[in-house]
């Protein structure tokens, strides 16, 4: 059935009604102050179209100030957000300069759409100063530029976002000038950065011993097949044979980070300004100098932002916001553009004993073999370097006409925004010849030959611009006990990318909000969006998304008005509909013009060869997915009930309970048999439910001269994938339907096969289920045969852990100040998540020896029984028997390899001292503060303590901790 089409005429009617009602009522009313343009960190709740006084807000919004975020010295804004906003799940990324985005999710995973193979992050939308931007446009904004960061979570706060709203919105406002004395603020800080954790592989001697044991295992316990002779083992032990710590070879102890900013702010009744210049510099962990031939990973960033407000005429205000950012990234040229992440896999995979970094005594010839060709030291020294240049420019132009003369409280607002993003890369590359034991074998071991460095051309990586236009009619008025704050808005968005982001995206959004309150006790709000998208066929492009919400400010009732305990008490609730039209995200058809599902597309699928004798390639064109003209937007029904309480003017408490019901999720229809000839038929058939609870608490008080604040937050969410047309499963317990998104499924490990499980000929004893992954022997992992059919196979998989998106995020902090001193500590943790330590690149650290793999401490716990060698770990084993050949039985996804990803980190500790005014006043200074700071200094995690793997980034470039000093001066 087609969607309900609501004519624009009807909308115009709604808009007129919203305006005319108060206009008529106004005749008897009394005007109030304009509440919509109030800024600063005063008590208001940010929102689309207008902000609201805290008491009148009906929505669920969490907010943090830029000043708070500044406590975390990092070049990436996303890394300042851990635990700061209730309902924002933040997952730390790698610490690699330029590639350190954290994963963000608002209220967990509401929908599986877009998450088929990747993480359930990055589906939210971001608005800066009222206009939508991409994630890459905000990651480099400095907290110094930011007034507030909020997340809009519920139907009330998302009502006007239509198809941009279902996964939450991150709403950012930048600092503006205000009337007052001009000020100049200078802030600077610098520090050392270190890996939180590096899991180093075994030394050569231990490695070789275990390797021999793996070979015994592979040869039926035959002790004569050792690869490393006693003489070799001794050589590893006494240091005459290679025993290389590759991490020591290529890393230095510390990276660095520094930034500095200068802010000029001030203004009078005509002109107000806030101009900020910011510079940041991050140096990576590689032990290599920046020369003509080499580069350490490093990021330099230059930000400038000028927000200017003018009162032009009696009724016209104007503002011009210009923001720009330039980023230069350098990195060793290890093969990928813009990143060295792949190099960390090499680093982790190369055993200590393969060779010394140099093959000759003179240390001029790099070692390298066919199996281990990428000598880690040479990779950073002899391959050249790459550099990447990005720039972002944003310009917002805003005009506001105050039509109080026409009708008190009426205003118009027109705004235009353009964001341009450009990124290019270039590199200087070289190669080197590999040798092994140069003294005895002077020929290179691979085809690579030494080359001097050469410059490569510039490659454009990303080029996009985003033009937006909005026009608003607003009306704010207070008359007697009644107050109305309202606006209606038209938003036109034109996004266009070139190159590999070559799509254009258009949307239109007609939206409005009206907040009505009576005696500051009862508040009702209606919001709506009539949203049009280009993602679907005509007829499915427009949709209507309304929301209603209400609040009761109980503390303003007469029976509580003078209550000394309850300073403030509000109950609020909202219900409404939003949606999602990101039709190209995550489906198997994405990247194949899959955004427009209503069209049939063809793409190349290699060549077929014809011709008489020589082969002539004939290009191919193959139909992609099955078009479906009926598809439309995913819908989200959101319900939220919350309460905000303040007790004895000291304790703030806020609680929200929410429910998000998704339907019409775009989904591959797996009920269609494969004989159809294509499995990519997509329809609005999926459903998911997400629910949760969030609470924040803060208590401030003073004991004598000591002021202190303790605060905490907790956000829990749990989702259920109700229907996603799962490929039919043999048994219900095999499937993912009904589980939380991303719940790992696999075999249930029950221990190890013991000697007693086998007959004399090596076959399993009767009655034991036979694994279908190859022959097993003692020490291999044993699994449950859930269907009791005597076989362990794909029909025995079931849910075995928690989804890796944690269920619970919590944070708590304490701040103390005494005279000029201030001390703060901030903790953040998660629980309810699992990490598969053999999945993806994690396997490099966990699966020992197979395919010339490395070995780590985890392998020392292997099951082994060699009484003649004095080895018997049968009772204590923490790892299956070692092997040098593929042992697919042991490395199936199973509960054995699934570990808790829970952790608690100290995200921040800061000690500061603010110089007394009497001291600095003479120098013309307003405020001077110095501080020392540690970021991520301590982590508690069983994964870290038991397996030396970071719970958030088990592999790759490690996440960072840092130790910093800083100074801020205000003139």
């Amino acid at each position: 059935m087609n969607k309900i089409y609501i004519s624009r005429g009807f909308l115009a009617g709604v808009a007129l009604a919203m305006l005319s009602l108060p206009v008529m009522a106004q005749k008897s009313g009394v005007s109030t102050k304009d509440t919509s343009s109030k800024t600063g960190s005063a008590e208001y709740v940010p929102g689309r179209l207008f902000n609201l006084p805290k008491a009148l807000s009906t929505g669920a919004v969490s907010t943090v100030s830029g000043q708070t975020l500044y406590h975390t010295p990092t070049p990436n804004l996303t890394n300042t957000l851990y635990g700061r906003l209730a309902g924002l799940t933040v997952s730390q990324g790698p610490g690699e300069p330029g590639n350190d985005n954290a994963g963000l999710a608002v209220r967990g995973a509401g929908s599986y759409f877009g998450f088929v193979n990747s993480s359930p992050y990055s589906r939210y939308k971001i608005f800066v100063d009222g206009f939508e931007v991409n994630a890459n446009a905000v990651s480099g904004i400095s907290p110094a530029e930011i007034d507030q960061v909020s997340i809009l979570k519920d139907a009330a706060s998302l009502a006007t976002f239509g198809l941009r709203g279902s996964n939450g919105v991150i709403w950012i406002t930048t600092k503006r000038g205000s009337v007052g004395k001009s000020t100049v603020t200078v802030q600077t800080r610098t520090g050392l950065q270190q890996a939180i954790n590096i899991n180093k592989p075994l030394d050569s001697y231990t490695f070789a011993n275990l390797y021999n044991q793996a070979l015994y295992n592979d040869n039926g316990g035959n002790l004569s097949v050792a690869r490393y002779s006693p003489a070799q083992l001794a050589a590893y032990q006494n240091g005459t044979a290679p025993n290389v710590d590759w991490y020591n070879q290529v890393l230095k102890k510390n990276g660095s980070y520094s930034d500095a900013d200068v802010t000029f702010a001030g203004g009078d009744t005509v002109t107000r300004y806030n101009v900020i210049l910011n510079y940041g510099n991050q140096g990576g962990l590689y032990n290599v100098k920046n020369t003509d031939n080499t580069a350490n990973q490093g990021l330099q960033r230059y930000n400038v932002r000028a927000n200017l407000d003018f009162t032009l005429l009696k009724i016209v205000d104007a503002s011009v916001d210009l923001g720009g950012r330039f980023e230069d990234l350098q990195y060793p040229n290890t093969g990928s553009t813009g990143t060295t992440s792949g190099f960390w896999n090499t680093l982790a995979a190369y055993p200590s004993n393969i060779y010394n970094p140099y093959a000759d005594a003179a240390m001029t010839k790099y070692s390298g073999t066919a199996i281990y060709p990428n000598n880690p030291l040479a990779s950073i020294q002899a391959l050249g370097y790459g550099s990447q240049h990005s720039r972002v420019l944003q310009g917002n132009f805003n005009f506001k006409e105050r039509l109080d003369d026409l009708t008190k409280g009426l205003y118009l607002n027109e705004a235009f925004s353009v964001v341009s993003y450009f990124q290019s890369a270039t590199s200087k590359s070289a190669t080197y010849a590999r040798y092994f034991d140069f003294a005895n074998n002077p020929n290179p071991t691979t085809n690579d030959r030494f080359s001097t460095i050469k410059s490569n051309g510039i490659t454009p990586l990303r080029q996009e611009d985003w033009k937006q236009l909005t026009a608003t009619i607003g009306y704010d008025h207070k008359f007697g006990d009644h107050q109305l704050i309202s606006a209606i808005n038209y938003h036109l968005s034109n996004y266009r990318g070139d190159g590999f982001t070559g799509f254009a995206y258009h949307y239109e959004n007609i939206s409005g909000r009206a907040n009505y309150s009576y005696k500051s006790r009862y508040v009702a709000e209606f919001g709506f969006s009539y949203f049009g998208t280009d993602a679907f066929a005509p007829g499915n492009r427009w949709g209507f998304y309304p929301a209603v919400s209400a609040a009761w400010i109980v503390s303003n009732e007469s029976f509580l008005k003078n209550n000394s305990t309850i300073s403030f008490f509000k109950i609020r609730g909202s219900v409404g509909k939003t949606g999602n039209a990101d039709s190209d995200a995550g489906l198997p058809i994405s990247g194949q013009n899959g955004r427009l599902i209503y069209q049939q597309y063809y793409a190349s699928a290699g060549n077929y060869y014809l011709g008489d004798g020589s082969a002539n390639g004939a290009g191919t064109l193959s139909n992609l997915f099955i078009p479906n003209a009926n598809v439309g937007a995913e819908t989200s029904m959101k319900y939220d009930i919350g309460a905000d309480v303040k007790l004895v003017n000291k304790l703030d408490l806020s609680v929200d309970v929410f429910l998000d019901k998704r339907s019409n999720i775009l989904t591959v229809d797996n009920t269609i048999p494969r004989l159809y000839g294509s499995n990519l038929a997509i329809g609005n058939i999926g459903r998911q439910t997400n629910k949760g609870i969030e609470a924040t608490l803060a208590y401030s008080d003073k004991i004598g001269a000591v002021g202190y604040t303790v605060s905490g937050l907790a956000a829990y969410s749990k989702n259920t994938v109700d229907y996603f047309s799962e490929v039919p499963q043999a048994y219900a317990y095999n499937g993912a339907t009904g589980l939380a998104l991303g719940t790992p499924r696999g075999l249930v490990a029950t221990g190890y096969y013991q000697l007693s499980d086998f007959n004399a000929d090596g076959s399993l004893k009767t009655g034991l289920a036979v694994p279908q992954f190859g022959k097993v022997q003692p020490g291999d992992l044993k699994y449950q045969d859930l269907d009791n059919n005597g076989k362990v196979d794909a029909n025995d998989i079931t849910a075995i852990g928690k989804p890796f998106l944690p269920e619970l995020t919590y944070a708590f902090s304490a701040n103390v100040n005494y005279k000029g001193f201030d001390l703060g500590a901030f903790f953040q943790g998660v629980s309810g998540s699992s990490v598969n330590i053999i999945s993806g690149n994690n396997a490099i650290q966990t699966i020992a020896f197979i395919n010339n793999a490395n070995a780590y401490a985890i392998a020392q716990g292997a099951w082994a029984y060699y009484p003649s060698l004095g080895i018997d770990t049968r009772a204590t084993a923490t790892y299956p028997r070692l092997s040098t050949v593929t042992n697919s039985n042991n490395y199936q996804t199973s509960s054995f390899w699934l570990k808790s990803g829970d952790y608690l980190r100290i995200r921040n500790i800061e000690l500061g001292y603010t110089l007394s005014t009497s001291l600095i006043g003479k120098l013309g200074l307003n405020k001077v503060r110095v501080y020392v700071n540690a970021t991520n200094p301590v982590t508690w995690s069983s994964l870290l303590s038991d397996y030396h793997m970071d719970p958030e980034q088990p592999s790759g470039y490690p996440p960072l901790k840092s130790y910093n000093i800083g100074l801020s001066v205000k003139f």
Binding site: R8, L11, A12, A15, L412, A471, Y490, L492, N494, R496, D498, G502, F503, A504, H506, E508, G532, D534, N593, Q599, Q600, Y602, A603, A605, N607, Y608, Y609, L610, G611, D612, G613, A615, G619, T620, L621, S622, N623, T671, I672, P673, R674, L675, Y676, G677, S678, A681, V727, P728, Q729, Q772, F773, G774, K775, D793, A794, I850, N851, V885, T886, S888
Partner: protein, 597 residues
């Protein structure tokens, strides 16, 4: 601005939400609007249909059918084939939702769909002359018949499609009976034959379906219909009321005579259209003195006159070639790392005795438990082998016979050395395969023959023998046997001749994806060392240095002696006579699974 302006902006932006300009791409209409892109849609139908059973047809990711047919070892221990060797066919592959089988069921129907789409839309391409559009419809029918023939051999009866389905059609199509499936293949092949030309006018279209190739589809389908697996009163395992999906329900001699008619027709058509078995140095009952060159040409030279249809593929860097080429050339474009693919992928001693000596007698090879023989014994016996062996294999320590004098094909440049104590004990077999590369020099690619004229002679030999006509059987058999430079076979006892014909199949079509289906459809004693059970390889003793370490195993002079040894066991179960359907398709509860899965 006012409210009216806002509303009017949005109204005059009617086109704003149309398909944005940078989102354009090729659509169904544009593809079939002209010859250039229509030919690309045809090419994709070829590519996907004919790749069945080949490595990049995704039947088996790493390895080829020869690794589980008893012809060769199974490859690297991590390769997919290792799982087949360990656990046979499964309806559910652990890593994905395909079945662990020798066909990719999903791909089969995708290929059929692509052919139907081209068939149904080609008339939109107005710049292609009408008669040529008729041929194209014929070749699309030919491709559909080809893939259905393949599916019949893999599964028995399968769901029959007669058009590109749309979502509104009834998609719950059950399996057709075996007889219906055969009838559909024959009918579709006949339609293709009627529509196709004898030859495409332009050489650049050489390699597309011609009339004879469609006739070959029918001839092959009918031979498989006549073989004992299907042509029987009782199925290999009972499927109860559904047994007619996997068995005809009667053993009928007429199936052999139908096969004879169809195969004679292919040869007759070939003879009048320039396709024939290549034999430049022999005649009737006269061993071919150019056997090595002729057999080598027939299996290796692109577009030779013995090949009716080939999978033509020349993609630089494709792993496909690395499964066949034992030289460093396998790693195309300097990517030598790919060579490892063939390192554990070599001829088994189980298979070796099928090859004749060059005088047509049997060679005597060591058995497990025999004493090691000197390397010279290996060398001499290898040198005395029939030309087909030498065209197909590189023996340990001997430069490739099929590219003499070419440095790339010297032994030292081509292998890691044989199995043996102190080294890997598995995977290097009795010799490495070098088939498809006769005289190829540095050409890394080859055309995989799908229909070679020799096949129809052996089909006839087999069918005539089953109908009791040993004269005709020998006549056809010796066309192939004499061409290989071997003296005529004169055996007339039906049972003995049957075994001789099957041996000829094995040798002539080594590594050409015939053996795996021949042994199953003939219901041979597969578990007893043919493709299941003990798999054997030669082991070589190598000379040692003074310090006790082994000398270089790629230097012939260091080879001391060799012996035969079991190196692994391969799983076999009678359920594997036919492939399993993917479990997911069974779980949709429309089609019936083959027995045993």
């Amino acid at each position: 601005m006012s409210l009216g302006t806002i509303i009017s902006i949005s109204s005059c932006q009617k086109n704003f939400l149309q398909k944005p300009d940078t989102t354009g791409a090729t659509t169904l209409e544009s593809v079939f609007s002209n010859r250039t892109t229509a030919e690309q849609a045809i090419a994709v139908a070829y590519r996907q249909t004919l790749v069945q059973n080949l490595w990049n047809g995704r039947a088996i990711d790493n390895g080829t059918l020869s690794g589980i047919s008893g012809e060769m070892t199974y490859g690297e221990s991590w390769a997919t084939l290792a799982q087949y060797v360990n656990s046979g066919f499964l309806a559910k592959f652990y890593q994905n939702n395909r079945a662990q089988s020798s066909d990719n069921y999903f791909d089969s129907f995708e290929a059929v769909r692509r052919s139907f789409i081209a068939y149904e839309n080609i008339d939109k391409a107005a710049d292609i002359p009408a008669d040529e559009r008729g041929w194209i419809k014929g070749e699309m029918k030919g491709l559909i018949a080809y893939r259905y023939m393949g599916m019949m051999i893999h599964y028995g009866g399968v769901p029959l499609l007669t058009k590109a389905l749309s979502p509104d059609d009834n998609l719950n199509l059950p399996r057709a009976t075996l007889q219906q499936t055969l009838d559909y293949v024959v009918k579709t092949a006949d339609e293709a034959t009627a529509a196709l030309p004898d030859r495409w006018p332009a050489d650049k279209y050489y390699g597309r379906f011609v009339k004879g190739a469609a006739m070959a589809v029918k001839a092959k389908a009918l031979i498989y219909a006549a073989r004992p697996l299907f042509n029987s009163a009782t199925p290999y395992l009972s499927l109860g009321a559904n047994s007619n999906l996997i068995c005809f329900g009667s053993a009928d001699q007429k199936r052999w005579t139908d096969a004879i008619t169809a195969n004679e027709a292919v040869i007759a058509w070939g003879n009048s259209n320039g396709y024939s078995i290549i034999n430049t140095g022999g005649g009737v009952n006269i061993p071919n003195v150019n056997a090595m060159a002729d057999y080598g040409t027939a299996t290796s030279t692109p577009a030779n006159k013995e090949v009716l249809l080939a999978y033509k593929f020349d993609e630089a860097g494709s792993k496909f070639f690395a499964w066949y080429n034992p030289t460093t050339l396998a790693g195309v474009n300097g990517n030598h790392n790919e060579r490892y693919l063939l390192d554990h992928y070599s001829t088994l001693s189980n298979f070796l005795p099928f090859y004749y000596r060059n005088d047509g007698t049997d060679q005597s090879w060591p058995k497990p438990g025999d004493a090691a023989r000197p390397y010279q014994d290996y060398y001499d016996r290898m040198q005395a082998m029939e030309p087909r062996f030498k065209a197909d294999n590189v023996a340990h320590g001997i430069d490739a016979w099929n590219n003499p004098g070419n440095n790339y094909w010297t032994y030292a440049n081509a292998t890691k050395g044989p199995n043996g104590p102190g080294r890997e004990s598995y995977g290097h077999g009795v010799s490495k395969s070098s088939k498809f590369y006769y005289g190829a020099g540095t050409r890394y690619w080859f055309e995989y023959p799908l229909f070679r004229m020799a096949e129809f002679y052996l089909n006839l030999a087999e069918a005539y023998n089953e109908t009791g006509n040993s004269v005709k059987a020998l006549q056809n058999l010796n066309v192939v046997h004499n061409r290989a430079g071997l003296p005529s076979i004169i055996e007339t006892d039906q049972t003995k001749l049957r075994q001789i014909i099957q041996r000829e199949w094995a040798v002539e079509f080594y590594n050409e994806n015939h053996r795996f289906f021949d042994i199953k459809h003939w219901k041979l004693d597969i578990g007893n060392g043919i493709a299941g059970g003990d798999m054997r390889e030669f082991q070589f003793n190598i000379a040692k240095n003074a310090d006790g370490s082994y000398k270089d195993a790629t230097v012939t002079a260091n080879f001391l002696s060799y012996y035969d040894q079991k190196t692994y066991s391969a799983y076999w179960n009678p359920k594997m006579y036919l492939d399993p359907f993917p479990q997911e398709e069974i779980d949709r509860q429309v089609i019936v699974q083959n027995p045993g899965y």
